[in-house]
Each structure stands twice: as structure tokens, then as C-alpha cells.
């Protein structure tokens, strides 16, 4: 039997924030929240599989002092597995959601209430749906303090401070248009799926879908101090699961939107991670260990999605970029049929010479371009034939601090006299910052790193002859509640050019 995961906004009862699916979800969540944390099918056990930090859980009221936990060996096997900043991000979360969905479905069946569905499926929140005026709003059922019968609503969470997400944060244009799943080159994008890593609970840079909408929705919904804003508490919030259902759907959408969008075929991914499997289990607690290769086909896993249509209507990254370049006055570069097999190569183009401290106000950092790579970048705009000019990426390395809900806009401009004002290149969030900054933790305190594509802005600067200067300016502007005493610093700012095949 194949069950269908449905859009959470599309099946509401008339005039109500509730759909049948959400009502059953709420009842099951309530039941699972009653179970002890040592029960593998309990709400908290499942949340701890994503992340767990006793002091945070106690502070939020999800763990009592001296409460009995599963044995350490069991915790080591099942808890704190979430894969972020890794090419396992998408498949690990798929395996995790499958396990969760099965447990919720079994819980609904065990309620033995009239009309309980046997084919309940986890809904998804498609915040990127431009045809639905509600799409950006938190699904209203999650904000209700009570169920229609007046009992407390288990989907309601006090420590959730966002009521909607920003449209720019969930724009998929430059996300799904990417044609690579992963990447191994330092300084440039790591495809839609993330960098090649071992089993990693503590990475640095991330894939395109993870950076946005994933990270940005987490912090938009969670807000400062919210459960969703920290990977160690995020899965305690019931909205986490409908968010990740959509992230999983985006992987399916990407895979189907172009015939040559492929998942990795490398056995290190398909049969990985090398030293362990994704440790999940079924509704009876029986182990269901899996690898990425086991979770590639959602229909084989027993579900599909109501809508996997392509929001970009077939647009591809190269054509999007070259059309915009031509529209801005640049040369029209011919389209290319099949992508080249050759891998793009990258090199450091320039860098700042000091760390940058972020706070409540706009800050600027200077980036100096090195002469030789700057010259190669300029030459790439004058290549004959259908050769695409270099792509350029801004790297913000070793970001540390204490506010994972922080979100910033980034602008890039030239320091050449008379140059245009710095242009917006994108937004980044610091989801996971606290754990990444902890020197005693798995990250070793190396912090997070962000890679933002600045190609379009560099194209505009090239056309405006602003790249004649070897000094660029990066401006970083807070877009959420960021305070000076959050102690957020960027260790290093750098730019990379990537020669295109």
C-alpha cells in the first residue's frame, strides 16, 4: 500500500484550522508525549534521536531532574544522530521520518477510536507555494491552544516564537536549479545535498536545500530561544516533522524535475556511512537499519507526495544565469545541450585579513582580491563560444557565537569610487551555532561555515566595470533579534572563483 503525504494547507475542514490528518496527528502526539523517555516510541525518545542536550531539555521542561534515561549504550546507538552539513542530510532525515510516521500511524491505530485511519500519512508544509496565500504562515492548527473538543492541543508549543516564514527565505529558484547533488571542492557550493563527509553530527558547510529553506525555516519558526532554532531541541516541536516532510519532498521534486539530476552513485554514499547505519526502528521497536541506497525510492518505502511538480518549470541554473547576464547588458552566451562531464575547478580569489564581529547593527568587511585569480576571473568573461564565465562564491568561515536563531542578509559591492551600492547576495542563518561553537563538543568549537553564491552580483559588477578595483566590501545586516552580547564572530571572509567546464 502506498500512502500519500498531503499539503498541510490544502485539506482543512471549511472554516477550521484543522484537517482530519492534523487532528489524528495531534491525538497521536498527545499519546506519544505520555510515554516515558525510555520508550522507543515515545515523543521524547524520537526527538532525542535528532538531538539531545539534557540541560536544554530541562530548561524547556522536557526532562525532569534525575529522570531515568535509556542506558548509555542505547543512547550512543540511537540518539543524536541527525546528519547536518553532510551528504547524508537528506537520506538520514528520510529514514528518520519514515520511522516516525510508522510509529504515529501505529499510535493512531492503537487509539481504537471510530474513524481512525489506517493510512495516515505525515503532511508537509509547502511554504514555497506561490499560488497559496497562506503558504508562508505557520499552519494554524499548530498555534491553537486547544483541540476542537476543548482539550489541550499537543501540537501547540510555548517555545515557538515565529508565526510565518519570509518569502525570500523559501524561494527555491537558485536551490532546485542546481544540477549536482554533492560537492567535494572547498570554497564552492556542495550541491543540493551537502558535502561528502563521514557520518557527521558536526559538520561545517552545507548543501543548498539544507541552507535554505531548511535552516531558515527552522529559525523563522523557532525564533530566539525557540525549540525549532536548535537541532538539539528542534524535533520536540511537532511542526518540525511537517517541515522535514517538505524538505524530503523537495529532494523528490529535484530528482524528478530533470532527467539528468542524479543522486550520488558512489558506494561511499549508497552503502554508507562506513562505520554505521542509520539506526531507526519500526513501530514495535524492531531495528530498521538503513543506508542512503535503501531509501532512494519513496514509493518502495510505501509513500509518495501529493504534489511533486516542478516550481521552476524546467529552468536550469546555467540558462538562468546567462539569461540574466544578457538581460543586464552582457554578451549572449549560447545554450548548451548536455552538461559537460568535466568537473569544475576552484581557487581562492581573495580574502579579508581579520575576523568580523556581528551584532545588532550592520557591519562591513573588506575583501582584497589577489591579482592573478582576479585576472583569470576577468578573462573568463571574454572566453569564446558557449563557455560560461566563472561562478563566484563568498565564504564565511568559522562562525561562532551563542544565538542559533540569528539570521543575516549579506551584501557585496566594490570599493571603487563611484561604484554602485552593495547588492544583496543572500541570507544565512546560524541554526546549530551553539553546538558548533562548543569547544568541548563534537565540533571542537570550529563553528559553522557558510557558502553563498555571489555570481549574479559579480556579473553586475563586471558589467559596471567595478571589478577594476581589487577591494570589495561585504556588508552583513541582521534580520532577526541579534544582540552584541551574542558574541557572534566570523573567523574569516573569503571569495572563490570556480571555472566552469
Amino acid at each position: 500500500m502506498t500512502i500519500t503525504r498531503q499539503d498541510v494547507w490544502k485539506h482543512l475542514q471549511r472554516g477550521s484550522p484543522w484537517s482530519d490528518s492534523l487532528l489524528w496527528y495531534a491525538r497521536a502526539v498527545g499519546e506519544m508525549q505520555k510515554r516515558p523517555i525510555t520508550d522507543k516510541t515515545s515523543w521524547r525518545y524520537l526527538a532525542a534521536m535528532h538531538g539531545f542536550e539534557p540541560s536544554l531539555w530541562r530548561a524547556q521542561g522536557y526532562l525532569q531532574p534525575n529522570e531515568k534515561l535509556p542506558p548509555q549504550a542505547e543512547q550512543d546507538r540511537y540518539w543524536q544522530q541527525c546528519q547536518h552539513q553532510s551528504w547524508y542530510f537528506l537520506p538520514w532525515h528520510r529514514a528518520y521520518l519514515r520511522s516516525f510516521e510508522e510509529i504515529v500511524r501505529a499510535t493512531i491505530a492503537a487509539l481504537e477510536e471510530p474513524g481512525a485511519p489506517r493510512d495516515w500519512a505525515l503532511p508537509y508544509w509547502n511554504y514555497s507555494d506561490r499560488n497559496d496565500p497562506n503558504a508562508l504562515k505557520l499552519p494554524a492548527a499548530f498555534a491553537q491552544k486547544s483541540l476542537p473538543d476543548g482539550s489541550p492541543n499537543p501540537l501547540f508549543v510555548k517555545a515557538r516564537f515565529g508565526a510565518s516564514v519570509a518569502a525570500a527565505d523559501v524561494d527555491l529558484t537558485h536551490r532546485l536549479a542546481e544540477d549536482r547533488f554533492t560537492g567535494t571542492t572547498v570554497g564552492v557550493l556542495h550541491g543540493i545535498g551537502g558535502p561528502r563527509t563521514p557520518f557527521s553530527h558536526s559538520g561545517e558547510a552545507e548543501g543548498l536545500i539544507e541552507a535554505a529553506p531548511h535552516d531558515l525555516v527552522h529559525v523563522d519558526v523557532g525564533g530566539r530561544g525557540g525549540l525549532m532554532s536548535d537541532p538539539r531541541t528542534a524535533a520536540l516541536d511537532p511542526v518540525f516533522w511537517v517541515h522535514h516532510s517538505n524538505i524530503d519532498r523537495l529532494w523528490v521534486v529535484w530528482r524528478h524535475r530533470k532527467a539528468d539530476n542524479h543522486d550520488p552513485t558512489d558506494s561511499a554514499w549508497l552503502k554508507g556511512p562506513a562505520n554505521r547505519r542509520f539506526a531507526t526502528f519500526d513501530a514495535q521497536g524492531k531495528d530498521l537499519p538503513s543506508t542512503p541506497g535503501d531509501v532512494l525510492d519513496v514509493r518502495k518505502l510505501g509513500y509518495d507526495y501529493e504534489d511533486i511538480s516542478d516550481p521552476l518549470k524546467g529552468a536550469v541554473r546555467r540558462k538562468l544565469r546567462l539569461d540574466e547576464f544578457a538581460a543586464a547588458g552582457g554578451a549572449r552566451i549560447a545554450a548548451r545541450g548536455q552538461p559537460m562531464a568535466e568537473k569544475p575547478t576552484a581557487e581562492l580569489l581573495g580574502a579579508g585579513d581579520r575576523s568580523v564581529r556581528l551584532g545588532h547593527a550592520r557591519v562591513s568587511a573588506e575583501v582584497k582580491l589577489a591579482a592573478a585569480p582576479r585576472s583569470r576571473l576577468s578573462e573568463s568573461f571574454a572566453q569564446p563560444g558557449d563557455q560560461e564565465p566563472d561562478r563566484v562564491f563568498l565564504n564565511l568561515e568559522n562562525i561562532r557565537g551563542s544565538n542559533g536563531a540569528a539570521k543575516f542578509d549579506v551584501f557585496l559591492g566594490s570599493k571603487k569610487p563611484g561604484a554602485a551600492a552593495p547588492r544583496l547576495v543572500g541570507t544565512f542563518s546560524l541554526f546549530g551555532l551553539e553546538a558548533a561553537s562548543d569547544q568541548k563538543g563534537a565540533h571542537g568549537g570550529k563553528g559553522l561555515s557558510k557558502v553563498l553564491e555571489v555570481t549574479q552580483v559579480v556579473d553586475a559588477m563586471h558589467l559596471g566595470h567595478e571589478l577594476d578595483s581589487n577591494l570589495l566590501e561585504v556588508q552583513i545586516v541582521p534580520r532577526s533579534d541579534v544582540r552584541d552580547d551574542d558574541g557572534i564572530t566570523i573567523g574569516h571572509v573569503s571569495l572563490y572563483r570556480q571555472r566552469q567546464p
Binding site: 550512543d76 543524536q80 567535494t184 571542492t185 572547498v186 570554497g187 563521514p198 557520518f199 557527521s200 553530527h201 558536526s202 561545517e204 561511499a268 554508507g272 556511512p273 562506513a274 562505520n275 576552484a346 581557487e347 581562492l348 581573495g350 580574502a351 585579513d353 575576523s355 582584497k368 589577489a370 592573478a372 585569480p373 568561515e397 568559522n398 569547544q439 568541548k440 563538543g441 563534537a442 565540533h443 571542537g444 568549537g445 570550529k446 573567523g491 574569516h492 573569503s494
Partner: protein, 231 residues
Amino acid sequence: MRGALAELHELVRATPALLIISLFSWALLAGLDERFTIAGVCASGTRQLEMAARWAFLSTYTLGSPGRIILSGFAMILAMMAPLLRAPVSHIWHRSLAQRRTRAMLLFSLAYAMPWFLALFCLVTLAVILRVTLSSHSEFLLAAAGLLALLWQITPWKRRCLARCHVTRPLRAFGTAAEVDSLRSGLVASVWCIGTCWAFMLVPLAANRAHVLWMAAMSVAGLIDRSHRPR
């Protein structure tokens, strides 16, 4: 073990030069007369020390050819540590301007090797002291070193060292600052690497014979250790 094989696979794929350097160093160690390897001196030297002056162990280092001993120390560090340096080496290479990469690598390597030489000196000294102290129980020494290596594995200090081993640091791109950062990266990586691996290094130094085999066994242990990222 699968983790170690995966680490090797990544080494071949991403930084084959490190594997070649390591293999070359293993060949050198295997070709050296064991009496003149740093571990061999540690074993044979102390036998002579027992007859002469028990605590004058420092003269151990001059018993063989000093040049060969330094060479063997260098080869030991390269053979055992090079396969573990994929992340920092890749970081130095890719985060440096293309025209500075070779210089950055040399500075990193120099700064990485120096603390290890110091650590090796300390470890040999420790092995000599233990050997002199336990002269009539030389097999016990190897067992004690093995036990110490195992115990070190489960301490929080070891876990912290391993986590810090994986940390990459900002590298400034231009001028003297770039050279300073390459040196500092090598030094810092070396210190956390020593914290992670010193006990593994002590085992071959404590062995009476077959030092190269013990080194190889400890290298495999180091690879397995590295593949289990701290959580």
C-alpha cells in the same frame, strides 16, 4: 574496520600524495637496520644502559648514528601520521592562494613536525625510563603501554583532543600573515594530534622487537579511531 577502509578510500580519492608519502616512509622504516630506528635504539640502548649507567639514558640517542635516528623519527611521524592529515592538508591547500600553496604546505609541515619531534623525544625518554625501571619484566612493558593506550582512549581528554584534531582554522591569504597562519595551523594541529595519538606511538617504542609491525598495527588503530568521529 570498515571505517578505517573508508578513511583509506577517501585518502586515495582526495589526497593520494599523503598516502604515497606514508608508503614511502614505511618502506624507509622497513629498510632501516632496526638497531638504528628510534624504537630500536630505545630497546637496544637501554640494554647497554643497564650495564653502564642506569639513569644516563639520554646518551641513548647518541648510541646509533644520529642522522639515521633523526631520519627514522621523521619517517615514523610521516608513516603513521600522514594518513590522518587529510582534513588539515586539504584545508591548507585549498584555502591558500594558488601561488602560495607549496609554501603554505611546507610551513604547515615544518610546524607540524617540530612538536612531534619533541613529543617523540619525550616518549622515547619515557620508554627508556620504564624499560630501565622494569628491566627484568620487559614483556610487561609492552602490555603496560598497550593498556595505557586503551585507557587513554576512553578518557574525556582524549575525546576532546580528537574533536579538536578535526578543527580547521582561518587562514589569512596575503603577506606575512599568511605564513604565520600556515605555521600556526601546523603547530595547533600537531598539538591536538599528539594529544590524540601519543599513546599509540608509545606502544612500538615499548616493544622489544618487530617495531615496524607494531607501528603498522597502531597506525590501523589510529585510522579506526579517526573514522569514529566524536559525538
